[in-house]
Structures are given as structure tokens and as C-alpha cells.
């Protein structure tokens, strides 16, 4: 795998072997092997849409490995406000940095940026489309917990229709002989194009409306937030959200060894009583954003091989 000079736009661009190699590299970084590797490198963070935690994770990753950061966090101060095209903004910024991290509300913006940029572009979210570094950090967390990605029983719970993270994670894990369980209200089911792809590739999955319907314990339960704005009726939202809340008592059904993950921020879909259990890995998962992003920044700038 040689990622030097390559952009990280979509999980779709990476074959299984590359995904596994990137995950392994992130765990090497976490073990301290590549300390200081980004020294002398400059990262430009272009956040056309605000996202404080993603931006801080990238900036923290760069700085703690010896690199420097320039950029903007508020789209109102960028030249896009003056009517400059995205392509021109990117062409200009490439002269100031070694790598670009970009978040944009428009889908496909990162793909376009990667086509006009002379330095690698890392997509930190393009609308409802992709957020590949989130997927990589999810995979790093699973690898860390189980020592492998192969052959796990993975449940996904909550908003599976609009949840960008579950779509990408599902795509990535489907190459690793995963057995999926999708748990959601009928109105927020996994989209047909995702389940059709699983069927076509012979990947086993079940769809249920409640964790009580699961036939066997899970290795991983990936929880997502059900957002109020998806429901016209507030009472309906309250009823549905209540049915998809995970707490210590859920472990009886999910299995004592299940690892509960969440992309954060959570609201109340995981009750705080679960935090102290060994099953709760969501904060470790968030912290894995640092070594994962460091590995990707190092690989695309050629400072990590």
C-alpha cells in the first residue's frame, strides 16, 4: 500500500487490503512508533461547515505529531463568501500546505477538491455523503477490541436511514465476513441500496425492530442517534427514541461481551449508567480519532510508510 500523494475521499476507494493496512498502521501510531513523524508538515483545515470536534481531532493529531496547522473554522470568513469557486479556493490553498482537511456541506465537494488539488485532500465530511476518517477510527476501535476485523457479529441500532456513519461502516465491514443485525424503527430502516448490495455479495444480515428480537449475542453494537427532526410528531419521536435506548439491562440480550460503540455526540440513546461498564467503548473510540488521523496524515504526506 502506497498512499503518498493520495486523497482520502470515500471508504469506497479502498480495497479490503488497504483498509486492513491503514487500521494496522493506526495501531502502530497509537503504540508510539511514529512519534514526531509529521514534523515540518503543514496542514490546512478548511471547514466550510462548522464541526468543532472533528476539527480539533485533526488539529490535535497534527500538532501532537510535530506538524503545524493553518486554516479556518468559520465559513463566513472564507473567500467562498465573496463568491470564489471551491476549485479556486483549493488551487490557492495548495500553495500554502502539504495536506488539506476539508469539511463541506455540499456532497461531492471533497471529490472535486481532490481533483483540482496538487496536495492530498482528506474528507472530513461532505454533506450526507462520506466521512471516511470516522469509518477508519471505528474500524481501528473494533480491531483493537477483538484483534481482528474478520467474522464478527455486528449490530447497528437507531437511525440507519440517514446515518452516514453506519452506511460507510457497513460497506467497509462487509468485506470482512461480518454478520449484520440492523435494529431500527420501520421508518428509519437501512436503505434498500445497502441491503441489496449485501444480498448481492452474499453477506448475511437480519433486520429487526427491537433488540429483544435478536437471536444471538453480538460482538459489537453500533448505536446512532435518532434525531427529532426526522419525525413530524414529537410524541411519536419520544416513543421511538425511548425504545432505542441502551443501558446496562440491555446487556442481557446483547451478551455480556458486547462492545457498545457510538460516533458521538450522544444525547440519551445510551444511558450514562453504561459508561462505567467494560462494554462501553465509545470514548476510547473517539480518542482513536487521533492515531487514526495521524496515520492517514502521515501516509498521504509520505512521512509514514
Amino acid at each position: 500500500m502506497d498512499l503518498k500523494g493520495r486523497s482520502i475521499v470515500s471508504i469506497r476507494d479502498f480495497p479490503k487490503s488497504d483498509i486492513q493496512a491503514i487500521v494496522n498502521k493506526a495501531l502502530e501510531v497509537k503504540s508510539g512508533k511514529w512519534a514526531g513523524a509529521l514534523e515540518g508538515k503543514v496542514l490546512a483545515t478548511l471547514f466550510f461547515e462548522p464541526s468543532t470536534r472533528t476539527r480539533l481531532s485533526f488539529e490535535g493529531a497534527m500538532v501532537s505529531m510535530g506538524g503545524r496547522v493553518i486554516g479556518f473554522a468559520d465559513p463566513n470568513v472564507s473567500s467562498a463568501k465573496k463568491g470564489e469557486s471551491l476549485s479556486d479556493t483549493i488551487r490557492t490553498v495548495t500553495g500554502y500546505c502539504d495536506v488539506i482537511v476539508m469539511r463541506h456541506n455540499i456532497e461531492g465537494a471533497a471529490r472535486l477538491a481532490s481533483q483540482v488539488s496538487s496536495v492530498p485532500v482528506i474528507n472530513a465530511g461532505d454533506g450526507a455523503n462520506q466521512h471516511p476518517t470516522q469509518t477508519f477510527l471505528d474500524l481501528v476501535t473494533i480491531q483493537e477490541e477483538f484483534g481482528q476485523l474478520e467474522g464478527l457479529k455486528v449490530g447497528m441500532l437507531g437511525d440507519l436511514k440517514y446515518g452516514r456513519t453506519v452506511h460507510s461502516l457497513c460497506r467497509a465491514l462487509s468485506s470482512f465476513n461480518t454478520k449484520f443485525s440492523f435494529i431500527s424503527p420501520p421508518s428509519l430502516r437501512m436503505p434498500d441500496y445497502t441491503t441489496e448490495r449485501l444480498r448481492d455479495s452474499g453477506t448475511p444480515y437480519v433486520e429487526v425492530g427491537d433488540i429483544g428480537e435478536l437471536k444471538e449475542p453480538l460482538d459489537v453494537l453500533y448505536v446512532t442517534r435518532i434525531q427529532k427532526e426526522r419525525f413530524a410528531d414529537f410524541q411519536e419521536y419520544e416513543r421511538v427514541a425511548g425504545a432505542y435506548r441502551i443501558g446496562p439491562e440491555s446487556l442481557e440480550v446483547l451478551g455480556e461481551k458486547v462492545r457498545v460503540m457510538h460516533p458521538l455526540p450522544r444525547v440519551d440513546e445510551i444511558v450514562e449508567d453504561l459508561d462505567a461498564t467494560p462494554n462501553a467503548v465509545y470514548f476510547r473510540q473517539a480518542h482513536n480519532g487521533i492515531p487514526t488521523r495521524q496515520a492517514l496524515l502521515g501516509l498521504v504526506t509520505g512521512t509514514i510508510q
Binding site: S10, R12, S85, S87, I106, E107, G108, A109, G127
Partner: protein, 152 residues
């Protein structure tokens, strides 16, 4: 229908005949080919067909359309056949090949796709190998099962 009777109906000195177009898509095929202003075009709609029940035919005089051009109709008429005519004889007969990608000829219907927000040439990739093409926008990655609806 025999070859002779076919030639009587569609007599063409030189040019291209696009046959076996599902009815009533002949006008759409002309649009996709972009030959509206390229001389005489004859459009036939609802001809009887043993294979298809009804079919449309488009006849383009004096132009020998290349596969790169005729393959564009794959989105609406993957069953169409192409006959290249010279001196009233069919000198080449070929089927439509469904291209693996489409640049600039489809419009992404996702209003939040960058191709609808910035000056970008659209680019779609064909997904899967079925006879009914399904396409994916390279930019916003949405998949469309009715790509004929996306023709600009």
C-alpha cells in the same frame, strides 16, 4: 420482416439506422445522439416488430455514427441495433455496448451535489453488469436506477 422489405420501408442511400428502439423513445434517442441539426433525420414510431411487439426506428442520413456516439443511447435503448449504410447496403451491423462511464451527458438530480453547485462536468459510473444500467454519481455517490431520466 425480410431484409428487402426493410430496405423498401427505410431506403437510405448512406447513413446510420438505429433499429429496435423501444416505443416511443425515438425522439429521446435523437436528442441523446445530438444529431437534431445534422441534416435529414427520419423518425419512425410504433412499427410492428416480431421481437418487441412495437419498435421505433431512427434514420440519420449521410452520417456514419461511431460506436462512441451510438453507445450513448444505451441508457434508454440498450436493445437497439445499429446499421451503417453505404450505397443502400448494410456494411456494418452492431449492437449497443453499455459504456462503463458517462461524462457530461447526465445531470445529477441531487440538488446538494457539487455538480449542481459548482462548474463541474458531471461524471457517472455504471454499477453492476446487468442489461439495465444503474449509475452512480462520482461526486455525491448516489445511485440511480433510471439513468434515462437523468439525460440532459
Amino acid at each position: 420482416m425480410t431484409k428487402d422489405s426493410k430496405l423498401k420501408v427505410y431506403a437510405l442511400e448512406r447513413g446510420t439506422v438505429i433499429d429496435h428502439i423501444p416505443s416511443p423513445l425515438a425522439v429521446k434517442v435523437v436528442e441523446i445522439l445530438g444529431v437534431q441539426h445534422e441534416g435529414i433525420i427520419t423518425i419512425g414510431i410504433n412499427f410492428p416488430s416480431a421481437k418487441m411487439g412495437r419498435k421505433d426506428v431512427v434514420k440519420v442520413e449521410n452520417l456514419k455514427l461511431t460506436p462512441a456516439v451510438t453507445d450513448r443511447v444505451a441508457l434508454v435503448a440498450p436493445t437497439a441495433t445499429i446499421n451503417i449504410i453505404e450505397d443502400r447496403k448494410v456494411i456494418e451491423k452492431r449492437k449497443i455496448h453499455i459504456p462503463s462511464e458517462f461524462r457530461g451527458m447526465l445531470r445529477c438530480p441531487n440538488p446538494n451535489c457539487v455538480t449542481n453547485q459548482e462548474d463541474v462536468t458531471t461524471h457517472f459510473i455504471r454499477e453492476g453488469e446487468g442489461s439495465k444500467p444503474v449509475v452512480r454519481c462520482v461526486y455525491c455517490e448516489r445511485v440511480y436506477k433510471q439513468p434515462a431520466d437523468l439525460v440532459e
